[in-house]
């Protein structure tokens, strides 16, 4: 940025002259020699510290906007390219997996234990997908950020288990049958329980379900020796049940689920396919469609996506907005430049300086 140095020559000259006598006077009494530090303090007390002024000259502003445009447009294209290079397949299955006879009463279907919830989805791979391919489930219209919901958990309990008994934040899923629940709270209780298994060329495709949670969660947030206790034993079954023999620190689905989402539409990782998928290949997914999103009209989607270094998943937004912003900046720069050329007012003409004063109130 161009800074215009304003050496307040006149002021300092004046000051030094006018104050010199004072200096003289004071120097005798207080400070025989002024060190650099006290000089700064002195200047501070006199509100006379060396200052740069930032002046909005046409040159500065126009070049600033131009520079911004020049920087933004390429970044935008790079980001857009990165985003477009990601292959992403989104399949909504909550309606697909609904048997025709239940189409009119979806809630009855999902709550009926006797009905089989399995369904198979055929996914055609449009483009070559390089491993690792992330498998996400996406929920829409699901408010993990709802105040009642997001607060209903207890991180201390997740770490220390039953030793930690102040779990009132977990209401209304704190106790069941008179015993505390581990892990308590609505978040854990409502854990997503759809299952996916993949079949390729007639053989099951291995899905790596390890390392899908944050390492910090495994190491420090979820206890190694804490086992689920009294979980999903109530009258109302929310979501997934947990294997009580596996400690929380290894329950990666739980960890993923318990990282609450800020938006009502979100994806959470299910696992990774560690093989490349070729174009035009067809992959069959066996879905256990257990999770109830039908009462509130939420959508469930299965997402397969590769990733890239720059942005992670597919996201055109940043690229597009960078390009738009960049071009707007260039446009503004051109606009201001034209304006500047057109309005070459006689610079620094103070003859028109008239002071219109507030009229006296009569």
């Amino acid at each position: 940025m161009e800074m215009i140095h304003v050496e307040e020559i006149s002021t300092s000259a004046l000051r030094s002259r006018q104050i010199s006598s004072i200096h003289h006077l004071r120097q005798i009494s207080f400070t025989p020699k002024r060190s650099k530090k006290s000089e700064v303090i002195y200047k501070f007390t006199q509100q006379n510290l060396h200052a740069c002024k930032l002046s909005l000259t046409p040159q500065l502003v126009i070049s600033l906007f131009l520079l911004m445009g020049i920087i933004f447009v390429p970044i935008g294209f790079v980001a857009l390219h990165a985003s477009r290079s990601v292959v992403e397949i989104v399949n909504r299955y909550d309606t697909e997996c609904m048997p025709d006879e239940f189409k009119s009463n979806k809630v009855a279907y999902i709550q009926d234990i006797s009905v089989s919830k399995n369904c198979t989805l055929a996914i055609k791979i449009p483009k070559f997908m390089k491993a690792p391919i992330h498998i996400y489930y996406q929920l829409d219209n699901y408010y993990q950020n709802h105040r009642r919901y997001v607060k209903s958990r207890n991180d201390k309990q997740l770490q220390y288990g039953l030793h930690y008994i102040q779990t009132s934040s977990c209401m209304p899923e704190e106790y069941s049958n008179g015993y505390p629940i581990v892990p308590c709270g609505l978040v854990a209780w409502s854990m997503f329980n759809d299952t996916y298994s993949f079949v390729r060329h007639g053989a099951p495709l291995f899905i790596n379900r390890k390392n899908i949670s944050w390492k910090s969660d495994r190491d420090h947030k979820f206890g190694e020796k804490i086992f689920p206790f009294n979980f999903q034993n109530g009258t109302l079954i929310g979501g997934k049940t947990l294997d009580p023999t596996i400690p929380l620190s290894e329950q990666e689905d739980l960890m993923v689920w318990m990282r609450a989402s800020a938006l009502p539409s979100f994806r959470k990782i299910y696992g990774r396919i560690e093989d490349d998928l070729d174009a035009d290949e067809v992959v069959f997914v066996n879905i256990g469609n257990n999770y109830n999103t039908y009462t509130f009209g939420g959508k469930k989607k299965l997402v397969l996506s590769t990733s890239n270094m720059l942005l992670g998943g597919k996201n055109d937004f940043l690229g597009l907005s960078y390009i738009t912003t960049g071009f707007s900046c260039i446009f503004l720069a051109v606009f201001f430049a034209l304006l500047h050329v057109k309005n070459q007012r006689p610079d620094h003409d103070t003859s028109h300086f008239s002071w219109t004063r507030k009229n006296t109130i009569s």
């Binding site: 307040e8 000051r15 200052a51 930032l54 906007f65 996406q138 006296t360």
Partner: protein, 859 residues
């Protein structure tokens, strides 16, 4: 009498901030109500379907209140509590800057300027009226006896100094009785105490500068007061020792305007009443038969020269008369109720049939830089009123000599005269008419009013007088009492003007306390005024710097600081509101409680505090273009419309930050803690750039604070991210490793600041305010607006004119004014002089009565 109970002062800026806070509070209530209702509706229609939220079916009656209260909690940060702390801090610093300022350090008396009241510096920049005392404020209050007129003979007219006038010295050595009596009054009609100095000479300790000047002059004229032993005075006249016994002292009050002593000449036992006082209270009591015309002429002549006059009178008292009176006096002295009034009444009985001895003229020189200060401040649009206890012609003369009013034909002086209620009314109406006619002409109209007419005007014609006060930019009020001064301040305040009262003496204390800003000059009349004042300065000329530099900067800085505080609080609040729209209107907070707390306390408070060092224009530019103060006076920098700009800026920034983050961190990346930290970082970055774009001059401190704060934000969050038990554990490490985090922030800054910069640039270049124009000037001239020489002549009164302005001694000057109206000072004087009508000139009694009434009322 001179002291009142000072009210706590509130600056216009503070009042405006309070008003804006009220508006924001209303807005907050509206938001809470609207969101609360929407939240309840959403809960009943949608949230009950969300089985995972598990809303209970049975709900207590207060359930409806929960969501609005949640929103109230979320929105409570809308009103920044930190603003009070920040404002107190910066106000303290403004005051310190005044204390430290070496350009306002009085070398002569070695007094620095001092801000006693640290809370009202902004008001200095919004002053519209300055009410100034004359003696000691505009003048040096260094009284020097210059001339006298004894029984019709003028002394000192030729040489300009009576002490060197040979004819006077001759008269003294010739023992001319009137001259001796005159000297005697000079020496003993006072309350001066002679003390032995360290040098062995006699020094005088006097309460009044005039008395000191007179006693000193008498001393030089061989009539020296050598000792005061109880009530016995030793006077050494030409080596002869004369002793007087003081029987009674009839004290000076500002209502009586005179003082007397009753002395007994111990040589011959004669009891004498010696009186000195203002001409209008002495000359009317001259004994019948004495020709007082010459004294009127003398007073007039001296006043024309700007000299302070005192008339001397005396009377020999019969023993009986004195004894009768003394008992009355004793009685009055011991009353408890209305003592002052009763005493005055008794004194009045004695002070009559005086033999007028003479008139003294005392010079009080103008302080240096007064003329230039008044001129500059007047250019800055500040109106000046001079309130003085002096007589009219002296006041006018001083006013002329210090550019307070301009001589004809540029200026016009209008008099409010009249002894009765109707006369005063007529006079006021006539002046109103004249002013309204002449408003089209570029004339400086000033009105002059004396204490008596002022009293009537204030009591009976307040509305007329008020409209006159509004119309007239300059006024001279003579012979005013301390309470009248305070009343005038109150009058201007009632018209919503910001008033600054400046004075040096005890009689200005009430005015100083009543005005929005009281400035005391720590002068010779003691520190009474300086102690009561909000600011004390050593010299009148520092007022210019106090107002134009300190006042103006303070106003600008506070305006920025307060609006910025609202901006940042609104920003975070708008984001919370936006978040609640996508979190099911449940009132969830996007930010964790620590971030919310730290946002106001650490992240956003420090950079803006450095605005105390910001200067939009250099001091020189302001001094040379004092008109720029108009922006402060009119409140152009902090008002509802500028505030609306900040309001919408915060709304815009909230939308930018939130929308970008939500879109950039969608799908698999929308983890709550991460997203909230991205939003928070976006806010902090925008804050930093907003401060940058609103700062005019960057010192190192500002750079340190702005960028250091940004670094500090990351340090704090890195530390928090390293603590496993905290919810934010590892969040910041994760974010900083993601390129998309930085890309997002960059976009937020660009989209948030781009439009702001574009608009600001457009305004600055194509719709510039006067401030912008001056800034461009400064830049063009590289900070030097004028050459050094020009600056010196403007800036440095010390070098410009080492000999202070003295009053022009021009005997042959024609009456300065050629007023349109017949009631000019000279005209009145003339008519008074020719036909002395004492019956209509008896202001004393009713004056006392009225002030008595006033006292009763104020009690």
């Amino acid at each position: 009498m001179s002291r009142g109970i000072p009210e706590p002062k509130l600056t216009a800026v503070d009042a405006m901030i309070d008003k804006l806070t009220g508006a924001i509070f209303l807005f907050q209530i509206v938001v809470v109500v609207v969101l609360g209702i929407a939240g309840n509706v959403w809960k009943d229609t949608e949230a009950r379907k969300l089985w995972y939220v598990m809303y209970p079916i049975e709900k207590p009656w207060y359930e409806l209140l929960i969501i609005p209260l949640r929103f109230e909690l979320l929105c409570s940060i809308m009103i920044p509590i930190s603003i009070k702390v920040s404002l107190d801090l910066v106000k303290g610093l403004y005051a310190k800057f005044i204390d430290w300022d070496e350009l306002m350090y009085d070398l002569e008396t070695k007094t620095p300027s001092h801000a006693t009241n640290t809370a009202i510096s902004e008001d200095l920049g919004q002053v519209e009226y300055i009410l100034t005392d004359k003696t000691g404020t505009l003048t040096e209050n260094k009284m020097v006896f210059k001339r006298c007129c004894i029984s019709g003979t003028y002394y000192g007219n030729e040489s300009g100094d009576a002490l060197k006038d040979i004819s006077l010295l001759d008269a003294i050595s010739g023992n001319t009785p009137d001259v001796i009596r005159f000297l005697m009054i000079m020496a003993i009609c006072n309350t001066v105490v002679p003390v032995k100095c360290s040098t062995g000479n006699i020094c005088y300790k006097a309460q009044s500068q005039d008395e000191e000047a007179l006693v000193n002059a008498a001393n030089l004229l061989h009539m020296s007061l050598t000792n005061k032993n109880g009530s016995v005075l030793d006077v050494n006249f030409n080596g002869r020792m004369i002793q007087y016994e003081i029987l009674d002292i009839l004290e000076f009050t500002s209502d009586r305007k005179r003082m007397s002593v009753v002395v007994k000449d111990l040589q011959n036992g004669v009891i004498l009443l010696l009186t000195k006082g203002a001409d209008e209270v002495i000359l009317p009591y001259a004994s019948h038969g004495q020709q007082v015309r010459i004294f009127f002429d003398a007073v007039e002549q001296y006043a024309q020269l700007g000299l302070r006059t005192l008339c001397f009178g005396c009377r020999e008292l019969e023993d009986d008369e004195y004894r009768n009176w003394a008992s009355l006096f004793k009685e009055a002295n011991s009353t408890l109720i209305d003592r002052e009034w009763k005493l005055a009444e008794v004194c009045q009985k004695l002070e009559r049939d005086l033999k007028i001895i003479g008139v003294t003229a005392i010079e009080d020189r103008l302080q240096e830089g007064v003329t230039e200060t008044i001129e500059t401040l007047r250019k800055a649009g500040i109106n000046f009123w001079m309130l003085t206890g002096d007589k009219q012609s002296t006041a006018i003369q001083i006013a002329l000599s210090c550019n307070f009013i301009s001589p004809e034909p540029k200026g016009q002086l209008l008099m409010i005269t009249g002894k009765t209620v109707d006369e005063v009314l007529q006079s006021i109406e006539r002046i109103l008419l004249t002013i309204r006619i002449t408003t089209s002409e570029p004339k400086e109209v000033a009105f002059v009013v004396d204490g008596w007419a002022l009293e009537i005007a204030l009591r009976y014609h307040k509305s007329e007088f008020t409209s006159l006060a509004i119309l007239s930019r300059t006024a001279i009020c003579c012979r005013t009492t301390p309470s009248q001064k305070a009343q005038l301040v109150a009058l201007l305040k009632s018209c919503d003007y910001r008033t600054l009262a400046i004075g040096d003496g005890g009689n200005d204390v009430r005015m100083i306390q009543h005005a929005d800003i009281g400035v005391g000059i720590s002068g010779r009349e003691g520190l009474q005024a300086a102690r009561a004042a909000d600011y004390s300065i050593g010299k009148f000329r520092f007022l210019k710097r106090l107002i134009l530099v300190h006042g103006r900067y303070s106003y600008n800085r506070t305006a920025f600081l307060s609006q910025y505080s609202f901006y940042k609080s609104l920003l975070i609040c708008f984001i919370q509101i936006l978040f609640s729209l996508i979190s099911g209107m449940s009132g969830s907070s996007l930010f964790n409680s620590f971030s919310l707390m730290a946002y106001n306390v650490f992240y956003t408070s420090i950079p803006v505090l450095t605005s105390v060092l910001d200067k939009d224009l250099s001091e020189n530019t302001v001094m040379q273009n004092p008109q720029i103060l108009f922006y402060c006076q009119a409140g152009r920098i902090l008002n509802p419309s500028t505030f609306a700009g900040w309001f919408f800026r915060s709304l815009f920034h909230a939308v930018v930050v939130f929308m970008i983050t939500v879109h950039a961190y969608s799908d698999e990346k929308c983890e709550l803690e991460e997203l909230s930290m991205v939003v928070l970082s976006g806010c902090i970055w925008l804050q930093a750039f907003v401060v940058v774009i609103e700062t005019n001059s960057f010192t190192l401190v500002q750079h340190l604070a702005i960028w250091g704060n940004l670094v500090g934000f990351y340090i704090i969050n890195y530390i928090l991210s390293a603590i496993p038990s905290v919810g934010m554990y590892t969040i910041m490490f994760r974010l900083c490793r993601q390129p998309s985090y930085w890309i997002t922030l960059f976009l937020i800054v660009a989209l948030g600041m781009g439009p702001v910069l574009a608009i600001k640039y457009f305004r600055y270049t194509y719709r510039p305010s006067k401030i912008n124009t001056l800034q461009q000037e400064e830049r063009f001239h590289g900070g030097r607006i004028l050459t050094i020489e020009e600056c010196e002549s403007q800036e440095n009164p010390l070098e410009k004119d080492l000999s202070p302005v003295t009053i022009v001694h021009n005997k042959n000057r024609n009456p300065v004014y050629e007023p349109l109206l017949s009631d000019s000072p000279t005209a009145t004087r003339r008519s008074l002089g020719t036909s002395i009508n004492f019956d209509s000139f008896q202001p004393i009694q009713p004056r006392f009565f009225s002030s008595h009434l006033r006292n009763l009322k104020s009690n």
